[in-house]
């Protein structure tokens, strides 16, 4: 009896730690992005050819060193966070909305609509992301907006499948049947009765998805398919730093760390959220 007690205590403490760390990391980075943009709008974009490749902590005011064009790495890493967070959050939001709508319709109405939507989703899942990305960017072009659209297009399927599964298990339960019996409109059933009952796992998935999208954005920009190189971004900084990996490590290590910490923070938050919102573990990822 006592051992069980301690184990669950440790678990609880760990869960709290997870939450605290997650909030600190994600909150800290978001705050840094917002503040820098507000306080020092120019930091990190100012080219200074007389101060190239300064190592970290060697000159006053340059904490994390400068890159090959003499731009402040700290400033760039924070500004780069803006791109990453924007892409991560906007694309996850877009994908959630699209996914929920498609999933609700598909699960609730079933039949032909269901077959159509789900087979379409299958086709989409069968395409490797990078192939889809390269084709998409070759046709539509790169840039921030296009990247968000690309991520929405490639990620909504996960939500649609999750939502559809939940709807299937919910739609024949008594409260839905009775709502239908008294003549509640379909739209109201979908959004007022079904949606609140399945939103938990969706939110969990979304947290993890934001992290994943940040990684995808960085990879695409690293490959030169993402945002304009004049805009600081973590993936772009990594790609530029690659040339100097053996002579100026700070160019790539810091943006790399920034990605690591953000993704870690979001994952911790996501884990914690799952325990709160979805204790039975329906979001088995």
């Amino acid at each position: 009896m006592t051992t069980v007690q301690t184990r669950s205590d440790t678990l609880k403490r760990f869960k709290n730690l997870e939450f605290i760390l997650g909030v600190l990391l994600v909150g800290g980075i978001t705050l840094a992005v917002v503040i820098t943009h507000w306080l020092f709008p120019d930091s990190g974009t100012q080219v200074n050819l007389t101060q190239r490749l300064v190592p970290p902590m060697t000159e006053p005011g340059i904490w994390l060193g400068t890159d090959a064009l003499g731009r402040d790495i700290l400033g760039r890493a924070i500004l780069g966070g803006e791109i990453s967070l924007k892409v991560g959050v906007y694309s996850a939001l877009g994908a959630v909305i699209l996914g929920i709508v498609m999933g609700l319709i598909s699960g609730y109405y079933g039949g032909f609509v269901d077959v159509f939507v789900m087979r379409f989703a299958d086709v989409q899942l069968a395409l490797p992301f990078i192939l889809l990305a390269i084709t998409f960017i070759a046709v539509i072009g790169g840039g921030l907006t296009n990247m968000i659209i690309l991520l929405i297009v490639s990620q909504w399927v996960q939500y649609a499948r999750l939502v559809r599964g939940s709807v299937l298990s919910l739609r024949d339960q008594e409260f839905i049947l009775s709502a239908r019996a008294i003549g509640v409109h379909d739209i109201r059933i979908l959004f007022q009765h079904l949606l609140p009952n399945l939103i938990g796992p969706v939110i969990v998935l979304m947290t993890l998805n934001v992290a994943n999208n940040i990684l995808l954005e960085s990879s695409l920009t690293f490959l030169g398919l993402g945002v304009d190189p004049t805009i600081p971004s973590w993936g772009g900084m990594l790609a530029e730093g690659r040339t100097y990996l053996q002579t100026a490590w700070w160019l790539s290590v810091f943006p790399g760390l920034a990605i690591l910490l953000t993704v870690l923070g979001l994952n911790l938050l996501g884990d914690w959220l799952r325990d709160i919102l979805d204790p039975t573990g329906r979001t088995s990822l």
Binding site: L49, L69, G142, P229, T230, L245, T247
Partner: protein, 507 residues
């Protein structure tokens, strides 16, 4: 299980074999960024074709790293009075790698092929259209008849399309076979070619200039600079040839105690050219303002680490037609602002720069340029394309932004080749501009035989392009080779055409 063991054994064996081969004296490996795909001289315009094929083929003339034109397969030549006929005396006792003898017949065959139907399908023919025909005088004497004098012809005979090929071999096996299994008279012969992976060469003992010191020569095709340089550091390759080494990795190579960088001024020049047809750059004043706004000295000093020279027109100092008196348009931010205001360009006007996405060094240069232009109040974006897309679709079809990157080799070291292709109406690299006066000058210089007069005219052309601000000339950039210290006698070639007869490895 048993299969696994066999596999493991054969793997071990092949590793041991590979080690044995690389330990063998006189086996040199080179990393080249690009597989030309075909070894047929009439079928290529790639510098990285020449960095392999200069070892395999000979031309009538030869030009080494010192840029002097010396006898190749021809021991002597003389031009007639009006420059319409060149008589070549050919080298005797020369054989192709397959044993076929070299004589006047091979020369005639080579040029008939280049100028005939087969050559017409390739990109080389247009360089040699001054040649009318080859007349065989005797077995070892030929006359080359010309439509019109071509002052650069003897240089052009030292490379690319003019490499002498074996008539019997090609007639017997066909050109498709020849492209993959080439045969020449050069110091090395190709023994194995694995597409996009490597090409292996072996010394040709019967070469007319004596056998090379190396026994084996292997080129590996490695396009990613970090990979090529990691191989250099670990000893997987001995030399990394241009255009691979980014400026930013010079220190990486120099800091390693087994490797060093060999740098030599090259004919390669870079410019940001303008869309003179539409957008804000259609206005000459705007173009001039943009050029004035960018401090090119600072770019060469810092980003290029001094491995280049600022240029005033689209040619380097070794180019015939270069004028040392001609100054680049000076850096003048204030003047640029005034000029831009005069032209009525509003702050926030957008300007797009198209670049090769994979070019690390130029990526930095483009960002510095964009930061200068942003100081003018312009809204600058940089768009990276895959190199082949930029060169084959975007530039020739006139779909670029206001500015685009142009990198140019110019191996003939003569401004004619560059200027004609860049500025003459209707040329592939001139999608936007048409200028009758410039066309007339470009045509005229092609028929002048007096070198002094021609140089004068080429210099006027260069000035004219500067007056019209047709491009933002940036710099000529050195050819950078990453070399392991055990490589001896290696002389870095400015034009990347390597001939490794005297190179050897020290134990």
């Amino acid at each position: 299980m048993k299969n696994g063991k066999v596999l493991l054994k054969s793997l071990l064996a092949s590793v041991a074999l590979a080690a044995a081969i690389s330990a063998q004296a006189g086996s040199l490996t080179i990393a080249s960024p690009q597989d030309p795909g075909s070894w047929d001289p009439i079928d290529t315009f790639l510098v990285n074709w020449a960095s392999v094929a200069t070892n395999v083929f000979d031309g009538l003339t030869y030009r080494g790293p010192d840029m002097a034109l010396v006898p190749g397969l021809a021991t002597a030549w003389e031009e007639n009075e009006d420059g319409t006929r060149i008589r070549f005396t050919l080298r005797e006792d020369v054989t192709f790698h397959n044993g076929e003898p070299f004589n006047a017949e091979s020369v005639k065959f080579t040029f008939d092929r280049l100028l005939g139907e087969e050559g017409a399908q390739g990109p080389q023919r247009s360089n040699y259209t001054a040649i009318d025909s080859i007349e065989i005088i005797d077995d070892y004497t030929v006359d080359m008849h010309l439509h019109q004098p071509d002052p650069v012809l003897l240089t052009k005979l030292a490379g690319y399309g003019a490499m002498i090929v074996p008539p019997q071999y090609i007639q017997e096996h066909g050109s498709d076979h020849f492209a993959i299994h080439p045969v020449g008279t050069g110091p090395f012969q190709i023994v194995n070619y694995a597409r996009r992976e490597r090409v292996e060469l072996e010394a040709y003992a019967d070469h007319w200039g004596g056998a090379p010191r190396l026994d084996q020569l292997t080129y590996r095709f490695i396009s990613e600079p970090s990979t090529a340089i990691a191989e250099l550091q670990s000893g997987g390759v001995h030399i990394v040839i241009p255009p691979t080494v980014p400026i930013g990795m010079i220190d990486t190579i120099e800091n390693n105690r087994n490797t060093h960088v060999a740098s030599v001024p090259s004919p390669t020049v870079e410019a940001l050219r303008f869309n003179t047809e539409s957008g804000i750059t259609a206005d000459e004043r705007v173009r001039r303002a943009l050029i004035m706004a960018v401090d090119r000295e600072a770019i060469v000093d810092s980003i290029l680490a001094g491995q280049g020279q600022v240029i005033s027109s689209f040619q380097g100092e070794f180019s015939f037609g270069y004028d040392p008196e001609m100054e680049p348009i000076p850096h003048d931010m204030e003047g640029a602002r005034q000029l831009l205001a005069e032209a009525g360009v509003e702050p926030g006007a957008s300007l797009q720069i198209d670049v090769r996405g994979g070019d690390a060094t130029f990526g930095e240069v483009a960002q510095v340029v964009s930061s200068y232009l942003q100081m003018l109040g312009l809204n600058v974006s940089i768009r990276g394309y895959e190199t082949n897309v930029l060169l084959n679709d975007i530039i020739p079809e006139g779909r670029t932004g206001e500015m685009f990157q142009q990198k140019w080799g110019g191996w003939t070291f003569d401004f004619d080749n560059t200027a004609y292709l860049m500025y003459h109406t209707g040329e592939r690299w001139n999608p936007y501009d048409s200028d009758e006066e410039l066309d007339a000058m470009l045509n005229e210089q092609r028929s002048i035989t007096d070198p002094a007069r021609r140089e004068d005219l080429l210099q006027s052309i260069a000035r004219y392009t500067q007056d019209r601000a047709l491009e933002m000339p940036l710099y000529s950039i050195n050819a950078l080779y990453g070399v392991r210290n055990e490589v001896q006698n290696f002389e870095a070639a400015p034009d990347n055409r390597l001939r490794l007869t005297d190179v050897y490895l020290e134990d």
